[in-house]
Amino acid sequence: MVSTLEDRVRPPAAAGGPLSTQEFFINMGPQHPSTHGVLRLVLKLDGETVREVIPVLGYIHRGIEKIGEHQTYRQFVHLSDRLDYLSALMNNWAVSLTVEKAAKIELNDRIQVIRTIMAELQRIQSHQLWWGVLGMDLGAFTPFLYGFRDREVLTDVFEETMGARLTMNYIQPGGLMQDIHPNFVERVKSFLKYFKPKLAEYEELLGGNVILQERLRKVGRLEAKTAVSMGATGPVLRASGVAHDLRKKEPYGVYSKVAFDVPVGTMGDCWDRYWVRIEEMRQSMRIVEQLIDNIPAGKHLLVKPAIVIKVPQGLYYGQVETARGILGIFVVADGTGYPYRIHLRTPNFNNLWSITAIAPGLRVADLVAILSSLDIVVPDIDR
């Protein structure tokens, strides 16, 4: 009943005859430049054509779910940073949201508005990095540095408020770790002013390039039906034409009070995934613009840091829309300060699976484009 990887990768025998060809297996990863970390894909190739993709996971599996059983809910926030480290704040928020819902902690407007601003800024930041990496994966190295340069501006803004640049631990159950820095509003405004023309430049530099369009258009099509069945969420699902965005469907934070659009693709190819993310950056800036000038006054933390939050017995599932899709936190609480079981429904874990449906029949080079357009972060897959 249970098989092993070796069963899957037996090389097929060559057909008879002097000109016969043979399919072969090749390891893409765990150390490969375009798997963005220690992801391993075993490819069955026929020449350059991909016949089958077998993802092999677990190279950075840290057992976060097991560790989580020994952490208080507040401590678990720190672990959530280490999932998809590019949307650390949104991961924090997912944990906080679930715990607050379960422990019935009411929040004030200030906390909600700041959380929303931070989440949207980080969505921009995450997409900036994705844009740069996409360029690099397709052979254009320069966008990578442009992406990082602009990301740096936002990272500095975060650092000023949170004291950290990557794993921020900022949003926690009951509020925020610190109040925003006095400079925050000013710096965010100047960032928006700086980044708007830059985004147009992004589109011209990379998106307007004929070669890039050739590489992305009609490559790696994911039909809407398959995408839903494959559990894909976030920009991947929306590029396939399904307008499913939790910020609209099950609004949390103050998303119900701001105006923004959900970009939706038509074809579900790599280009649509590219376009959806570029457009999302624009929408995120729109959200931030609406909120940044009227952050309400109030306390930033409603539960004293020394208090261990106790969650009443039950099953709880809360989810937020991170930069890569839906992060769901499933908590089984037994009434103590520690969860009995905590499960993470991570967006990349589910998004990556769709590569097994997209890739067969395409080339190795297309596989790189697809991986890049799925925008995976490996620690989020392995947990």
């Binding site: 052979g139 320069t142 050739e214």
Partner: protein
């Protein structure tokens, strides 16, 4: 029409050597030979150092950063430090690799680059050898570079390297056709295969401007095809760092890796210099018909400097490509060659023949 210096006297190094030999001056002959060899070696090393430094600096400034800044003034000694490091690194040959071929491959690659270098007319007095079938020789020898890459990929016993080598093989052979077709246009224009004579024939106007459009188109095709031939972005699919890890040179390290690297840079210089020689007048100064003073002023600049400047410009263009464009996919690459460049090349060759036949020139010839 005033031409101050239309008849440049070309004296190659090999001519001098054979004249010395005929005159019985054996010492001078060996002197010339050693000068040639030593000059070539120094030139190669210097060229590699300068080009690597230039590439890094140009890339850095394209990317809004500074590039190497620590070793020497503005990092000018960085490439020296790097080559020292590469020299001192452990030389690894994978256990299952074909040892002989694995060791041979980088030299094959470098050899092809050097063999073309010998033939380049850098200035009237600076050319190692000048055979009367120069263009044919260049085309034939530059194809050898593919052999080095194929051998390197094959002997490494690594599937990624093999994929890279196969890609390189297919690519170089394909693009060789287009490159040769556009070389033929120049051969038609100048009526000779000898490189120094091709340069001299451009005294009245570079071939790129001849027969409006035809020369320019041939130049464009040659530039694209030769960038593809030397495996640089957007045609670097055989290395394809993000796809094939590093393609054919994945398993190379230390000095052997440096040789592949060196070959790539020498090749880049060679194709730029060839394009400059064939289309942009080589060491010939820039003249505009009828402007005697201007032309005289241009003639003051030594021919070697003209050659260097033209080559440097083309090298910059090739680097510019690299730091701007994404990479093509193998099937798109093949489509570009066989469905687009090749038909255009044939039509262009036909038009060039017509232009020569009916004497339709953009620049009036005397």
């Amino acid at each position: 029409m005033v031409n101050l210096q239309t008849s440049w006297e070309v004296r190659t190094l090999s001519q001098r050597a054979s004249e010395a030999l005929a005159g019985g001056q054996l010492g001078l002959t060996t002197g010339y030979l050693f000068a040639g060899l030593a000059g070539l070696a120094v030139f190669l090393a210097a060229m590699a150092l300068v080009l690597v430094y230039a590439e890094r600096k140009i890339a850095a400034h394209f990317q809004c950063r500074l590039g190497p800044m620590r070793v020497g003034w503005h990092g000018i000694l960085q490439s020296v430090a790097d080559s020292l490091k590469l020299l001192l690194k452990e030389d690894i040959v994978p256990t299952d690799a074909d040892r002989f071929l694995h060791v041979l491959a980088p030299f094959m690659s470098l050899l092809a680059a050097i063999l073309v270098l010998v033939m380049l007319p850098m200035s009237p007095a600076l050319q190692v050898a000048d055979v009367n079938i120069g263009v044919l020789y260049v085309t034939a020898v530059s194809g050898l570079g593919a052999l080095g890459i194929l051998l390197g990929g094959w002997s490494s016993n690594n599937k990624w390297s093999l994929l890279g080598a196969m890609r390189a093989g297919a690519q170089i052979i394909s693009y060789e056709v287009s490159a040769t077709l556009s070389l033929l246009v120049v051969v038609l224009f100048s009526g000779t295969l000898q490189l120094s004579k091709i340069v001299q024939s451009q005294a009245d106007g570079w071939w790129i401007w001849r027969a409006p459009g035809v020369g320019l188109l041939a130049f464009a095709i040659y530039l694209i095809a030769s960038v593809a031939e030397i495996n640089r972005t957007p045609f670097d699919i055989s290395e394809g760092e993000s796809e094939l890890t590093a393609g054919f040179h994945t398993e190379y390290s230390g000095m052997r890796f440096a040789f592949f690297f060196l070959a790539e840079f020498i090749n880049m210089f060679v194709v730029s210099a060839l394009a400059a020689t064939l289309f942009l007048g080589g060491w010939m100064p820039f003249h505009i018909g009828g402007l005697a003073t201007f032309n005289a002023a241009m003639d003051l600049i030594p021919p070697g400097a003209w050659f260097a400047a033209k080559s440097a410009f083309l090298i910059f263009v090739i680097m510019w490509f690299r730091w701007t464009f994404p990479r093509l996919r193998i099937d798109q690459l093949m489509r570009l060659e066989w469905k687009i460049l090749l038909p255009i090349g044939f039509v262009n060759l036909f038009l060039a023949a017509m232009a020569v036949l009916f004497g339709f020139y953009f620049f009036p010839v005397q």
